[in-house]
Symmetry: C2
């Protein structure tokens, strides 16, 4: 994207109109009303003049070139107009016209043709089917919406045009200003990543908000947004979290929604805060715009009423924050200077008869306490309360302690309105209820965690997998027109990545089986080898604890007979012989591939109850860091067992981490792998063993 | 409580004052300003007249009797004033005075003396340390707060006085009216249950809201509120959910907070909706006051914008509701009459260019669909939107379909204000964002589930436990000054309740052990018998799979030697011999006693990982119904296994249910039992067996 999308030198409006109510009228009118300083060229062959500006018969007829062209013509005219723009040297198209991908197959074809013209001339496109963009600092209002917001430091990027209309209107009531607003429409070319990048580079933008239904390109998103969040917070409301919601999404903009889990781990990977409601999105924005990011999770609460103090304390814990424990001196100072009934621990209850001076005293004490990272002030309107004077004190202290974020809940209506307004005007996020005040601190604290410098350089990863072996196995599998690897093949593959699999060999006769068992040592396990049999135990296809050559032979025959009885049409590849291993903690390490964000690695409690217990945490496989691996292990209940549960000795967590890392490597190295299940992995005091490995290709 | 608390014939104000700003002034002034029709008697020996009313030197000096006396005197004067009121025949005291339990031990003593005077004269007391009460229909404002709310059908009961002040002030902005408001203060006498009962009996009250930090008496609460919720919804915001929050609560009104889990199951038992934020509390109230309760969970959404439609769909699922699937005719009608790009499935997207008539058409279609239980309308302000006309259509249809609740989200500000106001005035709950609209429908639907008639009469429970055996065991345990039962004793106790425990006998010599094992049959398990040894395996105190008399004798000796080596100071009671049973699904049935709500029964996955997996659901033991038992089983992951997991045969769920029911009976019959753990219970295809039973007395 050129830097000029939101600050073009000149704008042509293709399909400009003289008729109020028409989009082509609204756009020209909005451009003029916004005080846009560049040239505006209305294009309409039927008019001589529109809203006081000379109208041109075509883009070609404009004497100079226009940097940006806004399209408000019907869909059937866009191809011609686009070619004209291209010849004229227009750089950016903003396409308000609907009737493309969102209308089905025919629309999609038209959109593709449109895009190929843009590519031919090197033009970038916002939309189609969007409501435009605006920038309050340029200033320019290239939308057909009513109203131009006040200047502010929030950039808002939306995949829903109507929602932009709603937000703009609502912002007037809420008194929220913006730096830039983008409507993405169908995202045929420019998408959320381009707009996030542009907003990130904008000195007038302090926080970036998005409403999206999908991301256009997972890898781009990860690469670009990871960098942006190091400098500016990005908060995203991503809809389509539910099964039904995702259906609604795909019938909406024709978007193919990735799974919600993949979005969660991708957002986490690149430091994006995820909002789960529209209120949350804006509550966070207001906090980020006005207050510093806290140094840690420790919150102090100052209140003139016990009830709200308890409610806020509940939310501190529920949101993953912690109540600050004050220094001895702070408590002593509060004890000496507040009335005896006051609450001097956290929450500090300055009592119903507190005037501004008592609030100020308590606030100053907790702000100056080194154990306090952020502060929430809660005020109820009781008889003697001084909402305005208290607001002044809060503002003064916020300036005196600029490193500690401060939020307020002024709980009431008319009696507090003046004070609340003063707080908002002076950058103190002020809510009506205590809950969103704490939620805002929590969001800021999560972001603070994202931008913490990574721990010191981690040990170099110099493991070199045996790629040749893996390629050879996959070659055989593909030649057989199979997608599922045999157990012995899968074991060979992970062995090539240095993951110790229980020794497994494929035998094709009772005698061969016995010979192999002799070689690996007893006891052994026999399992039928067939990619067509998913649940081997159910068909009598598994014998465990086989201890002599004779037993091996008879087990071989028994398995083949069982399988033939249950599944007469299946011809097994043979029987796999595996050395029986001592039981360790049963874990699973797996991989599944998301259409947007690529391979995701899962780890958790394994065994046959893995789907029941659902104790699996996920991360993206690409560039997974040792820190992420430690985190994903620590998130599971499996970790409690691994550390040594109820007197058991701890298992080899380093070895488990290494399995996770190497399965991730394997998934990244071979994009043809669709799924991997290493389940169970036995973890021992020293080392691990992969008991069963399933690998499916795509 | 007499019916007259909120409609007394006459009121004395003890400690009335002429000085604005004093509580004694505010109360008299509020009484007058509220238009109270009864007699008002200011009592202040220093004044002749207060706010135009004659002032009396004492309560005794009032010519008639006053039904209610409001105390605004200092704490040190209350005892004398109370006695005077008692002698005069005053029925109710409303005590605004602070300085009682909330101030510590001395205050608590004073409060007790105060209460004993009230009891002596049969007076009831609201408070002390409260802000009073008001009733907009009487009308009477017996508080010292600023402002008197408009009439409405919401009763609000609050344990926090300052929060009442906040709510009253905020309600002016939000346009919310009330029937009654009660401030509970220290709850020395009248508490939330009394106020809920009074509000339930009030024809002007349609929904009851509470903010509480604890309940005064669990059994009263359960008994009374269960009945109330059959007629009127009760929504409670109970704070102190977090560890830190509970600490703040106990240092606040000196309340002893029961555990949060107990509150959850108690609220569920008696049909109380629990709100988790102040916004939620009021959003629900507005919905209940204005709209009917839905017949089911199926929601239809009509929107003029895709984005909000998806967001709302997400919330439908997240809140446990379901998206309605329309009848074929509905879909056909929508297809024929809406533009081709419109969404005709659920959510119905009438598109950005929809005027009121198109909204009306779609709304009428979905309201008339029998698969739709409730409807949410979402409107964004795009160019042609007609917010006011659409509001009129919504109101008309709400009246035409009075059985289906309808809520709206008018997403915007000034452009929609008039329409939103019209909706609110006509009883359509109207929100700014889609999320709270769906949450309100969800709350109503949950309440609908509470008031559904219970399923037809369930099979009679005619089981008679062997109480004599249990009493005899407890007698012995108490005589030994023990609290923990031996395994064999615990087995005897549950056996007396018809729960099959694995046969267990206590032996005190190797020979006795062998004789017992011979009698019960091999193999057996030997466990050291000592209430002082919690983890028997860790000290070598358990031997499993013992198969001959010789092995039994040597195991006996081995166990005693091991225990002596690890714990030289412990003298075991002997060794328990238990028949070894085949392995079934490992479950836990347990009981712990809550200080407020009595015994709670837990059920879930058992074995040594019970604390790790945390798959345990709880219910109150008292009067637990077969329906509740089925519900609690179905909530667990254990249930998935019990139904037959991955090809396993299902186990005997009836037998498991019976264990839960009988453990509940035992807990109710013997209040001296503090805790029961039956873990594991093995569940088989036919029947169950209790392997290990721990019972602790208090």
């Amino acid at each position: 994207m050129t830097n000029s999308l939101t600050s073009p030198a000149s704008i042509a409006v293709v399909g400009a109109s003289k008729t109020p109510g028409k989009i082509g009228y609204s756009v020209v009118n909005n451009l003029i009303q916004s005080g846009y300083k560049g040239k505006i060229y209305p294009v309409n062959p039927k008019e001589k003049e529109i809203l006081g500006l000379p109208s041109f018969a075509s883009v070609a007829a404009i004497p100079e070139s226009a940097e940006t062209a806004i399209f408000a013509v019907p869909a059937k005219k866009v191809l011609e107009a686009a070619a004209e723009c291209g010849q004229k040297g227009v750089k950016n198209l903003v396409v308000l016209t609907a009737g493309f991908k969102e209308m089905g197959r025919e629309g999609l074809e038209l959109e593709k043709k449109f895009m190929s013209i843009c590519r031919e001339y090197g033009m970038r496109m916002l939309g189609p089917n969007c409501v435009g963009f605006l920038d309050t600092h340029t200033p320019v209002n290239a939308t057909f919406l009513k109203g131009f917001p006040g200047q502010g430091e929030i950039a808002f990027i939306s995949q829903s045009g109507a929602m932009l209309a709603a937000i703009l209107d609502w912002s007037q009531t809420a008194g929220i200003g913006y730096s830039k607003i983008y409507s993405l429409g169908n995202k045929a070319d420019l998408n959320e990543v381009d707009c996030i990048a542009e907003a990130a580079a904008d000195p007038n933008t302090k926080v970036i908000l998005c409403y999206i239904e999908d991301v256009a390109c997972g890898p781009d998103f990860l690469r670009v947004v990871s960098e942006v969040t190091k400098k500016k917070p990005v908060v995203i409301l991503k809809s389509g979290t539910s099964q039904a919601g995702a259906q609604a999404a795909s019938s909406h903009t024709g978007a193919l929604a990735g799974s919600d889990l993949a979005y969660n781990i991708a957002f986490k990977r690149c430091g994006v805060l995820r909002a789960y409601s529209m209120s949350e999105l804006f509550d966070l924005a207001i906090a980020f715009v006005n207050q510093p990011v806290p140094k840690g999770k420790k919150v102090a609460i100052v209140t003139n009423s016990g009830g709200p103090g308890i409610i806020a304390t509940d939310k501190v814990e529920a949101n993953g924050l912690a109540m600050a424990r004050f220094e001895k001196e702070t408590i002593e100072d509060l004890r000496l200077n507040l009335p005896p009934e006051a609450g001097i621990y956290n929450p500090v209850d300055v009592l119903g008869d507190a005037k501004a001076d008592r609030f100020k005293f308590a606030l100053e004490k907790v702000l100056s306490d080194q154990n306090v990272d952020s502060v929430a002030v809660l005020l109820c309107p009781v008889a003697v309360t001084q909402p305005l004077e208290t607001a002044r004190a809060v503002i003064e202290l916020n300036q005196a302690y600029p490193a500690k974020p401060l939020v307020a809940a002024y709980m009431g209506g008319p009696a507090l309105a003046e004070g609340a307004k003063l707080l908002s005007q002076n950058g103190i996020p002020c809510f009506t209820m205590p809950e969103p005040a704490i939620a805002a601190l929590a969001g800021m604290s999560t972001y603070a965690g994202f931008i913490e410098p990574a721990p010191a350089a981690e040990k170099k990863n110099d493991f070199k997998p045996d790629l040749k072996t893996v390629k050879a196995v996959f070659y055989d599998v593909k030649r057989d027109h199979r997608l599922v690897l045999l157990g012995s093949e899968a074991a060979e593959v992970i062995d090539a990545y240095g993951i110790t699999a229980a020794a497994t060999s494929l035998s094709q006769s009772p005698d061969e089986a016995a010979a192999m068992a002799d070689k690996m040592g007893y006891p052994v396990v026999l399992k039928v080898a067939s990619p067509k049999i998913l649940h081997k135990t159910d068909v009598g296809g598994v014998k465990i604890g086989v201890s002599t050559p004779e037993q091996v032979k008879s087990a071989y025959v028994g398995i083949m007979e069982n399988v033939h009885r249950y599944l007469p049409k299946v011809v097994p590849h043979g029987v796999e012989i595996q050395k029986m291993l001592p039981k360790g903690i049963e874990l699973i390490v797996g991989m599944s591939r998301d259409v947007q964000f690529g391979p995701m690695i899962g780890f958790g409690l394994g065994g046959i109850y893995v789907n029941l217990l659902k104790d699996v945490s996920f991360r993206l496989a690409h560039n997974i860091s040792p820190g992420e691996i430690s985190e994903m292990i620590a998130e599971t209940k499996a970790y409690t067992m691994m550390k040594g549960y109820r007197g058991d000795k701890p298992v080899d967590i380093d070895a488990v981490s290494e399995v996770i890392r190497r399965v991730a490597m394997l998934a990244v190295d071979f994009p043809e792998i669709m799924e991997i299940d290493v389940n169970p992995v036995f973890a021992y005091e020293k080392g691990v063993a992969a008991l069963d490995v399933k690998i499916t290709l795509s």
